[in-house]
Symmetry: D2
Subunit: 285 residues, 4 copies
């Protein structure tokens, strides 16, 4: 991936000449197309693309280049989104008790594998405070009590105040209310500890154990108002045997969860995902 | 695995000294224990084991050795099963239209990877006749028409007449009636073209496509009266991308189906599976 | 993939505006770009692309469109290659004794997973004759005796006479002489039964067993004059345990071999591979 | 796995009646065999077994039970090893610069997934000091300068003083001298960042990139005097594409390294490995 420049994501009704037109716009302004990914959904006749543009040779200001694209975009009846590099996405991580997913995110952020700026860690329990503090990140304990709405309004205020672009539910064990899902549509990522759509809801490892499956999994997906039904970004599985207890499944599943969540966040912050209704188009790196 | 000798599968309530007692019986009679697998289900306090016994040095007749085990078996309140090697399990394969699973079975049987004697191939359509004939195996076309029972009674008569020990549903696209499932309990293996319990029933690849999953799979399981709910023997998965159509999923899924079914049959005919209610204990090789 | 139209593969020195120019050429002539894959090797500053073009709306004859591209291609100092669809690639399969890879190819060709026309099966032993005949494909037994060159000249004559575009070594257990490798450069595919570059040469499963590896593999690659050193197309692995004998490794490895070879051929005949010296750029489907 | 009791590992020349004799000893003393794993190497005619024994019902002292086994052990010409549970293995971790493997070990130790007591972290550079300190573990910076022996003698003194049972090379970028390998034979575990035996020695990711492999890997193995040639415990792989740079391979490989090393340590500290010359027999959990 380029370190400086622009990422453009675009989707529009399919028609002949789209690649030529879009790449032509970049070329006319002497941008250099470094990576180009495209997908045409033949069934729905819709075009999706992601471009990485080296802007060092642009003959106009980057802002003007971005603004100027609007004419073409509107002509194509497109939805589009530019991201200027370098950037680090402002991200809040919501947790409850277990810390393996949080740990993974912190470690990868530190390594610069994930270009995020973690604005805060928000827990409905206090368990992850120490980890947050050791990483030098503010921790907020927001209890979700009898009146759940109250707790979520407090969380919402924190997210707004911190100008968060991405919310990661890193084994956050509360159902997020519909209004908050809607507010962060396409910007709230969850890790579910099963191979969706198998074992929706609570205690998936117990259910997996009882069903006697031979593979367990984890699913990273966008959160929507329908529980565990949002667009899937990544899924990971691990083989299990008859001698594995529920406790073993939980242990083995942690590795699936860490891996799927890390990939999901990576694709999102690198702007490698375009949502096509309930499906996630992912151009992996 | 040994080529000549005995396989013993046994399960009984757990108690101290079981391994010593069972291995002791073998040792007393100068059998040689070549492979020993054991599993104790701590939750249900039940013991499961599989033994491969080289009988070349037995100081009694093999039949007497087998018969004599009854005293110990009854003492332990065990269920047990001896299989004399070498053997080839009499197997009928039920098919409909697609032949990839059938092909896989025939190929592995020919290579002696699967010690089966395929007594016949039974199709509710005529599509697989040529393959059967090229392999030199009798093919029966049994139509499943309006009165489904009639068709299944015809199939049942064939199975009985051929003294079939194992029935393999190799993409057989009909729901087997409860009475036939019951008659072949623990001896009828199906391949379902999804990662169960996701996408039970018809058209799982279409459902998987619509859900936007990132992994598809296949599940080999014993058939019970509850559709797609029997004990799981093996599951295989394949990664898919947004650009894969339903047709692609069907193509990629074929490889999962072939692989899962072949493993499932292998474990069964090598007596490597002990059923523990709705779970399959598999000692893989 | 499209069923009718053109595939264009192209590579050239990287410069700004390449995508716009190439897609522009298609667009000008009212071709419709259905799939576009691109890769820029930043280290070597070289551009690689593959285009699928729906030609049903072309305003010129397809031949003229192809011919006309030459002007642009030369300007870009490119290498390019057009393939007209539908087509089936004329393919010869070379075998020795084992038939699992051959079987796999025949089965996938029959299913139309692999758009190949198998012109003949050539064996340096007679073992695979029956399979060839059952599939209705000519079988040639060409002995490779004391004077190996003589045998290979006979094979070469067959390939030439049959106007073969692709040669598949499906567990062909002879070292192909350099002059024949050179003649089919980029058009001869081999399956090696190890995870290259580990265990080059003969008896890789025995070497793997002796080294005590925990994963075995198979590698599908283009054949070059250096034994087992050609560009790698696909690699598959399978987990093994301490209890697996060399014989078990051979058995488990067959599945890797079949899978890797089938993928390799698929990518080649669908024109999804561009060779970049000793590396294979693969745009998978 | 049991929490209290004994693990017994044993290997001896194969003969009839071994399981009966060994299990018989446990049974006679009213120990309860909770898990029993066995492997017979038919080629070398050698027997290997691992037993988990619940000692709560033993009719003698555990020490006496262990001592008393010697009579049988000597009779069988066996090598054997008892481990009393619960225990935490005293472990030193050697590091250089990168911290991902260290991090993984610390995280799993904290979660009690790895029953180790980390006595210290020893670095030939100072980079990992902060992590060690945050985890509350002593960090020793031991420079390996011109006279490498001097550095390694200092490390050896630390290991001895701390009564270390296991040495983990967690991306320690120095070749350990033969005398130190010998001193910790079967007790020093390394993670090599390639799929051995491919890419022995330095810069395996660069070599993998240059060879154009389609899978990269990591190997966890015991350290012997022959570089990267010790018995392999676990190997993990990850699929790579033509667009992955060396830098990407390093990134993706980290996940293989973490996973393979964590599994290797787990099997070792749970006494699930028996060394059979240059091969590791692993009874996984």
């Amino acid at each position: 991936m380029i370190r400086e420049g622009l990422i453009l994501k675009i989707d529009c009704p399919d028609r002949a000449g789209l690649v030529a037109k879009i790449a032509g716009y970049v070329s006319e302004h002497e941008g250099n197309l470094v990576e180009f990914n495209q997908f045409t959904d033949a069934v729905r006749s819709r075009f999706f693309a992601r471009l990485e543009i080296d802007t060092s040779g642009l003959k106009v200001e980057t802002d003007e280049f971005v603004r100027g694209f609007g004419t073409l975009g509107r002509l194509l009846e497109a939805q589009w989104h530019f991201r200027r590099l370098p950037y680090r996405m402002r991200t809040a991580v919501l947790v409850t008790k277990t810390d393996h997913c949080l740990n993974e995110i912190l470690w990868r952020a530190q390594l610069c594998e994930l270009p995020v700026e973690i604005t805060s860690i928000i827990g409905n329990r206090d368990d992850c405070r120490l980890i947050a503090e050791q990483a030098g990140i503010p921790f907020h304990h927001v209890e979700i009590g009898e009146d759940k709405e109250e707790g979520f309004r407090a969380i919402d205020r924190l997210l707004t105040k911190q100008a968060v672009e991405l919310v990661v539910l890193a084994r956050f064990m509360q159902v997020v209310p519909g209004w908050l899902c809607a507010a962060y549509k396409g910007r709230m990522i969850n890790i579910h500890h099963s191979f969706l759509p198998a074992f929706v809801g609570a205690n998936p490892y117990r259910k997996a154990f009882e069903r006697g499956v031979k593979l367990i999994g984890a699913t990273c997906h966008y959160v929507t108002e329908d529980l565990d039904a949002g667009p899937i970004i990544d899924q990971e599985v691990e083989r299990v045997q008859h001698y594995h207890s529920v406790h073993d499944l939980i242990r083995l599943g942690r590795d699936c969860e860490r891996s799927a969540l890390a990939k999901g966040i990576r694709y999102h912050v690198h702007e490698r995902i375009i949502l096509d209704n309930h499906r996630a188009i992912v151009f992996p790196d």
